[in-house]
Assembly symmetry: C2
Homo-oligomer: 558 residues x 2
């Protein structure tokens, strides 16, 4: 069996100008990055935004992630390939772009797998069109400007010990989680504690993925809360006048990136915020543009439907020109058995009892998503070890809820691995659609919003707030920021805030520990545990297997 | 008077594919970055390297830098434009690419000025083709891998307090000069002191600019000295097996970047090491490629001729396929008056006495360069305030040494501002050339090398070594590294190691304080003072004036 990078490198890409033609974009509409990648130029974006056409939007989400693997990106890409190449529907993928740091840590890029990949795989995983690097520059330039302001001027009395901004690198480096900087001579600035987070975890990534124009980007950057003065006043970026320079660093990065799948389906791969501390979807720029440029848009939300799916339906879709027309929940037999067994040891063996027990996780996810008043279908990503009996049992269990399902093999077979599935999804999007039923109302208080999500999506019995969290809620009221949407940061492995509780727990207590105002992004991050925003490297980092030959060909990426 | 960015943005660039045609390169030979930037592909590089043709190489160097400005890049670009467009010689520029950090600090990019600029100015100064970002990633990934190795394994007993690698950012941030990392929980790694340097100051930049192929790049990365074990053994990158991954991050960055001047002369803008702690010239890849692709190559060395010029002639040129055929020393009337007056206050007023006194600085530079047995010419970069009498005096003073000179106005007039100068430079390159006379022999000891440069170039009376430096020299002998070339880090403002001593001092003592083995680059950095490798931002950073409009057009860069 060939590895993903071998399949990707053996595939023949079309010139990106040819891919663009499928979207009625010509070479002048593109900023080329080599022959197989491009950014869409502002003139073309504005022209597309002005047209009345809006395609159908298909959201891919999944059961709770497990070490057994779900293959959400593979399903996104495979489904789009099937719509495009088997049903001949004008289809565009909107996908998050990978963070480079993890590529050198645990194996695994984020470009799909097998015959369902976006290419050039090694470029998309390393450097790509420079968006992550532009973000890193913007993050660290902003941090340097702020520290320099305190050192040189500080008429606003910004307290160096109350700076909320973190520095950033697109590298997995645990040693940078907690540092002291400005040490040594006084010419080295003001000594204080600080922290680096991985680039994708920074508020600027969330902002890049929500901004709808450069002026919106600039305004959001200006709204970032930098920290507090010694008089306890909030200080925003606009108070320091750094938003123009930071927006200048990010202007190009705001333009969506066009690539293709192995089967030449066009794909916009742009932006990549986490789905716990941020909203977990590719850029609003890319999805809106895709809706204007094609008839079917397939997009993906991070982690399970309780995290990425909920955030997409309650938050992201309010920024889009339309909400999803259909929701696909991805499941695998292996992952559901893992939900019951909590071990990867015997997943290749038939185990109907474990599957029946683990199904409770899928049951919760698919019924949760149905609450949004959008049609839901389950696609089962088949692994070679799945038995006929297991697949039948799973489809029957799903059907009892009046939800349709299909078994697909996009990984092995490309678009041929799920034509019927693509037809069913297409049919769902043409159903008459009522209003989206969101989990909370825009004007609900912070606590009501949290409790609505906890009840409807997590199925918690109650929500408990730490004293710190209650004080923070009071403070947010004082700032007039208590009506912003909430983004709940929770472990992705469980519906609860305890990563060891798998399946579909009920009546548990959700513990709200901390709130953070992301005023530029326009949301409040509600933490229910400690979420690591700077990963570490493992004992055998993937870097040890990565190499490059004298023609520039890279090997060892997975 | 229009600003540089206004002139650059008002100029009409040709498609980079048209520029490439002038070099007999077609679209398949390019990796495009938009319509006006490209990297040259490996196949085209290898084909060019195989041809027998080598053009003439013209080295641009200058008097000691002052706040009055010399305009070395402007002269490099203007002279190339004159050769290309007025004399119709097939000419290519090889120039260093700018560091982004300083763009947000003190005003000033590094793309020339007035009518002598490389474009697109704002792209080259911000992000460009991602080379600086690839370096930053490589630097910080390597540092993270090393710290992770100590945390997870450390069978080589690498001492966390004796790591020589610095982390890097392309940002001016004084607070990162001295930090403590790995603080807090033990899951945050091993606590130790560390430091960030600006990206261009890292050994990886020097390596990128010296490597002649990806395999050479990988070998040099493997040779980097990481630090020492608790048993006092040196530990190299290859001992940790990280060179493949780091080379993979830098593979694309090793390909030279093609852009154009305002007057459409092709330019390779690639790599940018400092001329104090490194060798101060654009990449060997770019200069060698330029020699194969054109008849005249104009390139530039950093700072004054005592730093960049000496390093180019004694070190860089030994890596090139040929040494320079002519050396141009750039001078301005203003800067020479500053050498005498040490103030910018009255530089616009005629002052023949100050010019005569300040000429001693130029006299030393031009005569030093003549020692290398290559023809030397002085080009005087005319400012509007220069008087006829001043220019006549200066040319007469130069002529007394049997050295020719020309007054040029490339900044205001583009290639028309110095046709005669271009003719004279061309004539110099066609003189019969003897052997280059280098300052020291390859097999000289470290001390002899230092003393030869101190005597012949700096005109020091003697060299004094700190005890630490003497011990380091002993250690380098033990390592068998005592025959490597030396790169002397010295203030750029004076021939001496005291930045306040202007003009042409003699009989001073040069103080050698520290030596550092850059084993991947293949040289020993000899420090004669404290050289800052991480700049800070000024009280009014240029960032405050930088902005971007809704079409992505950037303003406020200078």
């Amino acid at each position: 069996m060939k590895s993903d990078i071998e399949i990707a490198q053996a595939s023949q890409s079309l010139p990106i100008t040819e891919i663009a033609k499928k979207l009625e974009l010509n070479e002048q509409d593109l900023e080329l990055f080599g022959s197989d990648k491009a950014k869409i130029n502002w003139s073309a974006i504005k022209q597309a935004q002005a047209n009345q056409h809006l395609g159908k939007l298909i959201l891919i989400t999944s059961i709770s992630p497990t070490p057994a693997g779900e293959g959400k990106s593979t399903m996104t890409i495979g489904l789009a390939d099937a719509l495009n190449n088997q049903l001949h529907e004008k289809t565009l993928i909107a996908l998050r772009e990978p963070s480079m740091g993890p590529v050198f840590g645990l194996k695994g890029g984020a470009t799909g797998g097998g015959r369902a990949q976006v290419i050039p795989m090694e470029d998309i995983n390393l450097h790509f069109t420079g968006d992550m690097h532009a973000l890193t520059s913007a993050i660290d330039t902003l941090a340097a400007l702020v520290d320099n302001y305190i050192y040189q001027d500080n008429s606003l009395k910004l307290d160096p010990n109350r700076i909320l901004l973190k520095r950033g690198l697109d590298v997995n480096d645990r040693t940078l989680r907690k540092i002291t900087l400005g040490q040594g001579s006084r010419f080295n600035g003001i000594e204080h504690e600080a922290s680096f987070a991985i680039t994708v975890a920074n508020e600027l990534m969330a902002i890049l993925c929500l901004a709808t124009s450069i002026s919106d980007l600039k305004q959001r950057i200006g709204n970032i809360l930098v920290g507090y003065s010694t008089d306890n006043d909030p200080v925003f970026v606009k108070d320091l006048h750094f938003e123009g320079a930071i927006a200048a660093l990010l202007g190009k990065a705001l333009k969506p990136n066009l690539v293709q799948t192995i089967e030449h389906t066009p794909a916009l791969v742009h932006g990549g915020p986490f789905a716990n501390i941020a909203h977990g979807a590719n850029s609003v720029m890319a999805t809106n543009l895709a809706l204007h440029l094609s008839d079917y848009v397939v997009t993906e939300a991070g982690f399970g439907s309780d995290l990425g799916g909920q955030k997409f339906m309650d938050f992201v879709s309010t920024h889009l020109e339309k909400a999803p027309d259909a929701i696909v929940v991805v499941a695998t037999v292996r992952a559901l058995k893992y939900q019951a067994e909590q071990s990867t040891d015997n997943l290749a063996n038939e185990n109907l009892a474990a599957l029946r027990e683990g199904f409770k996780n899928l049951e919760r996810h698919m019924n949760n998503m149905r609450q949004y008043n959008r049609p839901v279908i389950v696609l089962i990503n088949k692994f070679d070890s799945d038995t006929e009996a297991e697949l039948n049992l799973l489809q029957n269990l799903i059907a009892k809820h009046g939800i349709d399902s299909e078994v697909v093999t996009y990984h092995n077979d490309g678009s041929l691995g799920g034509i019927k599935a693509a037809e069913k999804v297409r049919d769902l999007t043409s159903q008459e659609q009522g209003e989206v039923m969101r989990s909370y109302a825009k004007d609900d208080t912070i606590q009501v919003k949290i409790e609505q999500i906890a009840q409807k999506i997590y199925h918690a019995g109650k929500v408990e707030y730490s004293e710190k969290a209650l004080a923070q809620i009071e403070h947010l009221k004082e700032l007039g920021k208590d009506k912003l949407p909430v983004i709940i940061a929770k472990t992705q492995y469980s519906f609860s805030d305890d990563k060891k509780v798998l399946g579909a727990p009920t009546n548990f207590t959700l513990h709200v520990k901390n709130l953070a105002l992301k005023n530029g992004a326009g949301f409040i991050v509600v933490s229910t545990g400690s979420i690591l925003d700077m990963p570490g490297l493992p004992k055998h980092p993937a870097a040890l297997d990565i190499d490059i030959d004298d023609d520039g060909k890279i090997s060892g990426l997975f």
